[in-house]
Symmetry: C2
Subunit: 676 residues, 2 copies
């Protein structure tokens, strides 16, 4: 498998110790569904389970815009309020301590509280102490309380920031020791210093905190510094262990939800819905619009449905604020729903790329993602249900594209024949149809064809795998796409010893094929495909190991595509039609086990799990003892016991680093159990 | 002014004859608001006024999915139904003839009928005759009836298509002669042959038809041939006179509304809402999704509000069809509302560019627009309220960008000094701030500065005009933008006799300025600005004419920007802060009249209008006798009588070609009348 350091950025061992030891870790999320870093999770609190991604509306206990129980009715399972404000108001303080925060706010869902960090930061040194405020949060029955961290401003110098991070971590450790039955949020600080963010996140991963807010980002969002926000989120995520939820503190604008969800933020909170409403501003995924400047109302939310733009503009101030606050909440919730749906349907990248056209600063953020494709590729699934839609040159910086480029150059063996290079043009775009066409002509010629595409060179053997066959490009190419294609072509021509022996375009290709004449057997071509796909999917020696012996192929009568690969009479592989990759059969698994030492291509399970997996039941995370550290979601894996006996074959749902530390949910969807 | 042939593509004279003569033209729209080709209009019918852009749901008289009166309640002012189906059903035929179509369908809004063209086309030669079906439509009281045109398929050859166009035009002429009190829709055919579309459109413009549907586009939409759709719409619009509404026949998907509206389509009709619903498909601006494959419901429309994705999926077929049909209609209507709002707020281009990321085929359509920037520029306003947001390299093919490039090279006089060329980088993007910075440094140096931007070279004198100062770019540049900038720089260095005398970048620029030392007077710079902006706005000789004499400048104390230009004691110009262009004062207008012969920069009004305009009242279209054929919206113009006496000064709302043939609404918003 493609490798990265066995230790992830966070320390798996430290986290495992934390989880399995006598700690006070309360959260342990279940990963319900994911796409790259993006994920849907669920975790338990004392007031029920919380499903993410979700937005926690901020409730100001002294200025309630929308009553908490109305928020519950709108579908918000959790809210966030400020313990500092409560503690500083004698009446509220007494009520909170006496009857508890849930009763005081008349809200029976999940309540998170902030600690006064922001107030302390904004209004100077105020009378608040970390231990006091954490104990207070615990005592009023908060579900998730927050450390009194130090808010790091983007204009601070490095030393001041590093110092603030150090103090924040000390306070977090202290807070964890007194949190009692409360979950604790330990905040990632470090401003725009990526290394400080990473170090802070790594340290937090080893502490018994339950939720990871990424803090200090409000000034970046207010300044439309979305590219910086991307850096902050990614460097934080690099250091955070995956079994606890990540909260984007103060991230409450629907403009950034899909992007932040793509990068693995699980929770958001918004005071903006109310602040913006008081200021007459309406939030949309496309941006903020001032009601007084709007020239129409095209919103279907329950609040706007009752209005025309004129009637909304003419409401008395208080009613207008309420109407706009409701609008802002509805739209925010809908946008999170939209991103969830995209995640489930496999087109979250496409959604984010659309959303990032709403403002040039968001386009900068999208372009900043390209710098992190190597990191993002570690979480990139082998394939997706949704097709790859090209929305602009930025699409080619997606990890799906980087994955193909990387594996092509690492794992594809040079073809043995003369080479025909095909440049598609506007009339012959990179598409399944085109690739098929090439295969047909190549069968009539003693040459091997490679189509030059913006993903990189596509030899005919790889033209059915994701994302090649599942991609849709516009016919007209932009300059960046042409340039990228050219660069990859150059890299390709340097990567093969013989260079490029034949170079034809369009009609010339066909003429060349006519001239060659000799018919190449379809069977040879199919064998090349099996080898190339197996190498790409499992590693460079896989093809040879799987195909050693007498190979027979079962092909679909309708599509002429390979269905099953039989070697020496044993069924070793089946090809999956939707993404062009292989499913393993037990004889195939055994062949791979011979050439790949444990734990490569494997998930090693504990003894308790063995009988279940042998019966074809799924592998649950809590039973994962070890695994190939290079596994990505949708990978085909062997489930083995500690003696490296094959128990089952299945497909991973998680990244390696996740199945090692997450303790709930399915790690491997088993297709076939192997009876003892 | 920048010129184009005095005759537009359609014949102004033929149209004028049609309008002013004893014709049967019923429609005469009022142009309420516009942005380029996009427009909001209103026209009268026998069943009330219709405001566009609007969608007409298709009602199948034999299979009613949503009853017409429910459609009215949803806000649809007009529907479309099929006269051919009614005529072929004996019971319906009798009812329609007896009680009228409005009573039969229980709908008191505007009813348009189709003629059976599509049925005839789809199901072969059916028994239908143009005159019969037009007379039938007239007799059942249809508000807008349709010719029996010939549906031209995209796979037809040229000759067959040309023949179909000829027959369609003959039938249209015949239909117009018998339409009676009914409005008649005369269909533009010609398939994907742009010249045939254009010729057909020109011919229709000279016939007394009232609505111009663009026909034969359904196969293009079904095949996602959106780039071809753009060509079809543009070549049709080129030939169509602007005083009658344009209907995109069968254009009923929210994916294409904003794009089609941008290109000047006023009316849409949709049978898809019901067809898609029967097939379990939901329409969104982002595309079509099959309900059975959807993994969430993030729609706020009144139909979806009542459902979860599961409850919607589990509805019995008939109820589900109704729910989805309502959804499809709501979403379609909202999308048209959204485009309207964008039009009014000055950011329709930005909306279209966002929407065109929903599918690579839409991105192709967006890229196809770039080929037509010269045509689109004729309708491009001088400035807009909304800022210019860059969403990708396609943004630079907008007519706003082309306008700047064109006028810069045509009208900007070479600067008299040494030249400093400044290349902005990521830290110094093309922005107002940056331009201001340059101005400051240039004041301290005896050099003239030009900032190289993707719009083209921006000399400091032009750095406040639209779209330069009102543009927002991402900090990170794509390859196409860099290349475009480079090409414009090259063109620039060839366009000045002296070539580029100084070439500095970043810190070098500042060092150079330090070395020069001599302080340049701010007054000289301001004079250059007045001249350059006046030349850009009015034409190359304008600056000299306006500034002949002793010039004084009144500047804003706060911003140091020029407010008023006084020459020889007379107030000739005021500068508009939002877009950086000039408003004329009467002495300025008189100076321009001396150097620009009539009708340049003028709108010539009829005698009846004179006393009103002299009192400062607006110029209405019906009183426009002649005008500068190069006028674009937001142009500063002189209103004169036929003796070329100055009556008023104001700003145009329409393109020249429109104010000559449209007979309702305001042509010039007068700012100042000149008493006799």
């Amino acid at each position: 498998m493609h490798r990265w350091p066995a230790s992830l950025f966070f320390s798996v061992e430290a986290v495992k110790g934390l989880i399995n030891g006598p700690t006070f870790l309360r959260t342990m999320l279940e990963l319900l569904k994911r796409d790259g870093l993006a994920r849907m999770t669920r975790f338990e609190t004392r007031h029920g389970a919380l499903e993410t991604p979700c937005l926690l509306p901020v409730v100001n206990p002294r200025l309630i815009t929308i009553p908490p129980k109305d928020l519950k009715a709108m579908g918000f399972q959790a809210i966030i309020t400020n313990s500092y404000i409560i503690r500083n108001d004698p009446i509220l303080k007494e009520r909170a301590l006496k009857e508890g925060i849930h009763s005081m706010l008349d809200f029976d869902g999940v309540i998170m509280t902030d600690s006064g960090t922001f107030q302390s930061h904004m209004y100077g040194e105020v009378e608040v102490d970390n231990e006091d405020i954490v104990a207070f949060q615990r005592d009023i029955g908060t579900d998730i309380g927050t450390v009194l961290d130090i808010f790091t401003e983007p204009d601070w110098g490095r030393e001041r920031t590093a110092n603030a991070v150090r103090v924040t971590l000390e306070r977090t450790e202290k807070a964890a020791s007194i949190k009692g039955g409360m979950m604790l949020a330990g905040v990632v600080q470090g401003s725009v210093f990526n290394d400080l963010r990473l170090e802070c996140a790594k340290s937090l991963s080893s502490l018994p905190v339950d939720v990871f807010p990424i803090g200090g980002v409000v000034p970046l969002m207010e300044g439309y510094r979305f590219a910086d926000l991307v850096e902050v989120i990614i460097s934080s995520k690099m250091g955070l262990t995956p079994e606890r939820p990540v909260h984007l503190f103060g991230g409450g604008h629907p403009m950034i939800f899909s992007l932040a969800i793509l990068l693995g933020c699980d929770m958001f909170d918004s005071a903006s819905y109310a602040k913006f409403a008081r200021d007459g501003r309406m939030m949309f995924p496309e941006g903020t619009f001032h009601l007084s400047e709007m020239k129409g109302l095209d919103c279907d939310c329950p609040s706007c449905r009752q209005h025309t733009i004129e009637s909304l503009q003419q409401l008395p101030e208080q009613e207008r604020t309420r109407a706009l606050a409701l609008h802002n909440l509805h739209v925010s919730k809908r946008e999170i729903d939209r991103a969830k749906r995209a995640l489930l349907e496999g087109n979250l990248w496409e959604l984010v790329e659309q959303r990032c056209r709403a403002h040039p600063a968001l386009l900068d953020a999208l372009r900043a993602l390209g710098k992190h494709k190597q990191f993002l590729e570690r979480f990139e699934p082998l394939s997706r249900e949704g097709a790859f839609f090209y929305t602009g040159p930025e699409s080619l910086d997606r990890p799906a594209s980087y994955r193909y480029e990387k594996r092509y150059f690492e794992r594809y063996s040079k073809p043995p024949q003369q080479l025909g290079i095909v440049f598609p043009d506007a009339e012959r775009p990179y598409s399944r149809v085109y690739a098929w066409e090439m295969r047909e002509v190549s069968q009539r010629a003693d040459a091997h064809f490679i189509v030059i595409s913006p993903f990189g060179p596509v030899p005919m053997e790889l033209d059915e795998i994701y994302p090649i066959a599942q991609s849709v490009f516009p016919r007209t190419q932009d300059g960046d796409t042409k340039e990228r294609t050219r660069e990859l072509m150059e890299r390709f021509s340097h990567s093969h010893e013989y260079g490029v022996s034949i170079l034809y375009e369009g009609d010339e290709t066909l003429a060349m094929i006519e001239a060659l004449g000799d018919r190449r057997s379809s069977f040879d071509l199919d064998l090349s495909r099996v080898k190339a796909v197996a190498d790409y999917q499992f590693g460079k020696v896989a093809g040879a190991a799987l195909m050693e012996g007498r190979v027979e192929l079962v092909k679909s009568k309708n599509t002429d595509k390979i269905r099953n690969v039989i070697v020496d009479g044993e069924h070793v592989l089946s090809m999956r039609a939707p993404d062009g990759f292989f499913s393993l059969r037990p004889p195939g698994a055994r062949r791979l086990m011979e050439v790949f030492p444990s734990p490569q291509l494997r998930v090693v399970v504990m003894q308790d799990s063995e009988p279940f997996n042998r019966e074809g039941k799924n592998v649950f995370c809590q039973f994962v003892k070890d695994c190939d550290r290079g596994l990505v979601p949708m990978d085909e894996v062997m489930v083995v016991n500690e003696k490296d006996e094959l128990l089952a074959i299945g497909r991973t749902l998680l990244v390696a680093g996740e199945m090692l530390v997450i303790k709930k949910g399915i790690a491997v969807k088993v297709r076939e159990g192997i009876k003892a």
